[in-house]
Amino acid sequence: MLLNTVGAFAQHLVSDTISLEGVTVYQRRQASGLQAGIKSISIDTLVIREKQGLSLAELLQDNSPIFIKTYGRGATATASLRGTSASHTKVYWNRLRINSPMSGEADFSIVPLYFVDDVAIHFGQSSMSFGSGGLGGSVNLQSTPNWGKQYGAKVYQSVGSYQTYSTAATSTYGKGKLKAQTRLFREASENSFSYRNTAKINKPIEIQQNADYLKYGVLQEVYYRYSENSMLSAKAWAQRTDRGIPQLMTSFSAREINRQQDINLNSIVEYRSGGEVVSWRVASGLSHMNLTYDFSKLSVEGNLLPVLSTQSSSWSWYNRASMDWVTNDWITVNVQAEVNRHWVQSTEEIIGNGYIENQTHSALRATLMATPTDRLSLTTLVGEEVFSGFFTPLSASFSFKYRLLDEKSLFANGGYSRNFSYPSLNDLHWQPGGNPNLLPEDAQSWEVGLQHAFQYAGSQLNIEANLFSSHINNWIMWLPHLKGYWEPVNLTQVEAKGAEASLSLNQQIGKVTLKMRGNYSYTKSTIENAGGVMRPEAHGKQIPFIPVHSGGVAINALWRSFHVVYSFTHFSERYTTTSNNPNSVRKLYPYYMSSAAVGWDFALYNMPMGVQLRVDNIFNESYQTILWRPMPGRNYSFTLRVEL
């Protein structure tokens, strides 16, 4: 409660955050460049635990206001925040950016929750504390050491519908100064669900073909504590994903081979030193992504007819240093410097198209945090970035958080920022279509909000409401070109604005602990001026695939060693054309999805164990989230967890 009266610094990544909320209060000196007042949420670790075995895409879809666009179960999934595009959501794993330097996007379906301990979402300008380009925001993932246990291991085995098997093991070992953790997982699915094919005459029941996937990976972490305040850590994550890409429901060509394979290696070494006045963090990371995609048709005689065979390979070397300086009782300064280098290569074997490029990216950021009174905290951030000799204009962010009433936890917050997103390497160089004349996307945003936290006898209610608005100049969109390929162009101005409300309640009813969260977002993301590349008819229309209304409710009940989870997600209809034609053939109808799980934790032979049964798509909806890509009906999974 002492901290509460001091004033709140914004969200920080800690593993014991209790609920999905934005008003968590932290120590003043741990702020580490994070900004006051701007919306950030972290996902309850219990929720992450209960969803073990699923991917980050599924976690965020059920438990956050992020709109996940997925091509199917286990297939590529990208995220959209506050009406922006997938490349505007930056993803950091232990502060290492894992968006592809080539596409600018991150595939949320390949991040296993077994490897992640904390998930935080930083909306809009609050992502600027970690790097530029997060015009929508960022998703920050942490893998953290478990110092509390000397030796420990957990083994998970899941069996699910459509021949889905998932096996994972996590272990922690070491005491005192040294700690190591190893995590492994493997997940395979035939994914051959049946669905009613509404795209064909008589709407036959068909079995989904070529949607199988196999994912496996390992994460190794080593932590060494030099002293109370300093630590060296090294983490390496290697993963391979092999997926079939199914045909559209409208296809009548049975003869096809269409597969994608991803290899991802991420590693980071970090040294942290904390002092009374000055704290340091220095990190260096290496990231490699290799994506191969093969698409062949088969002739009537059965001969292979290659259509596309592409390989995209990137190596990125990230280097970062960050210093926090507590100048006096109420001012903290954070300075960050980054020098990153990317080497990328894209080749297409059949035609021989491709490109080889490299890019040096440097950034310098300074943040000043002040709490001039017990009721007010202020943050100012200024940053400058250089991309292979191109200096982006100065980016800046200002934000505040103010306690409106003396005794109550009622805060007003707000901020203004200017942020840039530099075109990805594919945007600039992809063959054919890459456009080296693209300008960086230039966003000016503001947001205001109110937060109220109410606590009584161990129960807690948080209510939060926000308004946000971004004017994004030079928004990059890929459009078909006359010669048959796609080309990225700058749209003069896009406006993304909206309102967000969230509510979370933790309550004790007798012996039942209830956690309930609800969120709702209204998002208008419109092309205000396409600068000649589109007709005036597109102006003022919602950007394709971004829902105007989205929301969800998640309820978590715990009674003794039993838990029940229910979640509901809704998106309003999404247009697939820039004209927003209401014709039903070309829009996606509203999405309503419910899932639930029941679990029981117990001990057998002194070994803690847990079982969980999960049901997705409870109401057996027949639906698509992308045009003519079928999704499975009601499906089940059963998980057994054994702790050693």
């Binding site: 795209a199 007819l305 010669k483 309550q507 039903s584």
Partner: protein, 373 residues
């Protein structure tokens, strides 16, 4: 009284919490009743009997499955969009490409669905699907029971039996030893006992197929990426080459218009456009076969006896993106489509043969070809 009672309890701190619980439950249960309806394509009967008009084949976007068929009644000026879905309650497919009418049936080639949908030409009611075509583009009837289907990726032309709707064989146009997909096939034009096809994709050839031998017997080198081809009154072929693109494996050159003399199977006229950035498109002839229309940014018209390109367009593009081109053989009216930004519904403009506007209509996404009935 109940309302008053609730307010009284609000004053009590525990009351706050018990109030929130039902609130959350109300939210949860209200939302629960949502139900997705994925069966939303409305069906209503179509009857085009006695109507003279033009079908507009709207490609839609690749992998979106949002192609569609529109119909424009030439006499009444009425337009019906999504006429295939309307008649059948199912989508047309992914990248509808061309349509051929034969003996009261419509054959709609759906490129990336790998099929041809066969419908009644008047009611548009579905009759059959010719399946397992790798990447079909255009269809040419050779006789009442046999048609050829050109293909982007098959390196072969499919021979389809239109009584059984089965692929009965192929005419090989290339093999895997040839670089870059060679040879694809696009338009199929019959001259006597031969069929000519232009190989557009990363290629520079027009192939000659002998219908007696059912194989490729000759090839004619044209410009880079021959996009479209038509036949004039002298049974000569006009080919428009898009010139490729910078960075493409075939390289890039100035787009050109060429004439192939089908007697000697050789190019006897080559007219170069002015810049590599010129965006060329489709070709058409009038009913007499002595006037040629083509798209190069704008729409141009010329006589087949001209030996130079026309200096002034017949119809200026005025910000439009011209895509499909057709000429009504009865009236001589010109139909030209505008693909707009390729991500929204396009338009079709109707002009007299002199280029005077008659009508404009809204159609589907990327109107790519016309088929007059």
């Amino acid at each position: 009284m109940m309302i008053h009672g609730t307010y009284v309890r609000v004053g009590n701190r525990t009351g706050h919490l018990t109030k929130f619980f039902p609130l959350m439950l109300i939210i949860a249960t209200t939302l629960l009743f949502g139900c997705m309806d994925d069966d939303v394509l409305p069906v209503s009967p179509v009857d085009l009997f006695g109507s003279r008009g033009v079908f507009i084949i709207n490609e839609g976007n690749y992998l979106y499955g949002n192609s569609s068929l529109s119909y424009y009644d030439i006499e009444s000026g009425e337009v019906v969009n999504d006429i295939f879905s309307m008649a059948n309650g199912v989508p047309l497919g992914d990248v509808a490409y061309s349509m051929t009418l034969h003996n009261g049936k419509g054959y709609i080639v759906v490129n990336n669905s790998g099929c041809i949908h066969v419908v009644d030409a008047n009611t548009l009611l579905y009759e059959a699907t010719i399946e397992n075509l790798p990447s079909p583009r255009h269809m040419l009837f050779v006789d009442n029971d046999m048609a050829l289907v050109s293909d982007l990726y098959a390196r072969a032309i499919s021979i389809v039996n239109t009584s059984t709707y089965k692929v009965e064989g192929t005419i090989k146009t290339g093999d895997s030893s040839m670089p870059y997909y060679r040879h694809s096939s696009e338009h199929l034009i019959r001259v006597g006992n031969r069929v000519y096809t232009n190989s557009w994709s990363y290629d520079n050839q027009v192939l000659v197929i002998d219908l007696g031998q059912m194989q490729v017997v000759d090839s004619i080198r044209v410009g880079i990426q021959p996009l479209a081809m038509v036949k004039d009154k002298n049974e000569n072929l006009w080919v428009i080459n898009d010139g490729g693109f910078a960075g493409g494996p075939m390289g890039v050159e100035v787009p050109s218009l060429m004439r192939i003399n089908t007697t000697g199977n050789a190019v006897d006229l080559c007219l170069n456009f002015s810049a590599v950035t010129d965006a060329v498109g489709q070709l058409a002839t009038n009913a007499a076969g002595d006037s040629l229309y083509f798209i190069c940014n704008h729409l141009y018209a010329m006589s087949i006896y001209d030996t130079g390109l026309p200096a002034e367009p017949l119809i200026a593009r005025n910000g439009r993106t011209f895509r499909a081109l057709g000429v009504d053989s009865q009236t001589g009216d010109i139909y030209i489509s505008d693909a707009t930004d390729f991500m929204s519904e396009g338009k079709v403009y109707r002009y007299t043969s002199k280029g005077l506007p008659i009508d404009s209509i809204g159609v589907g996404i990327i109107p790519g070809n016309f088929c007059f009935n």
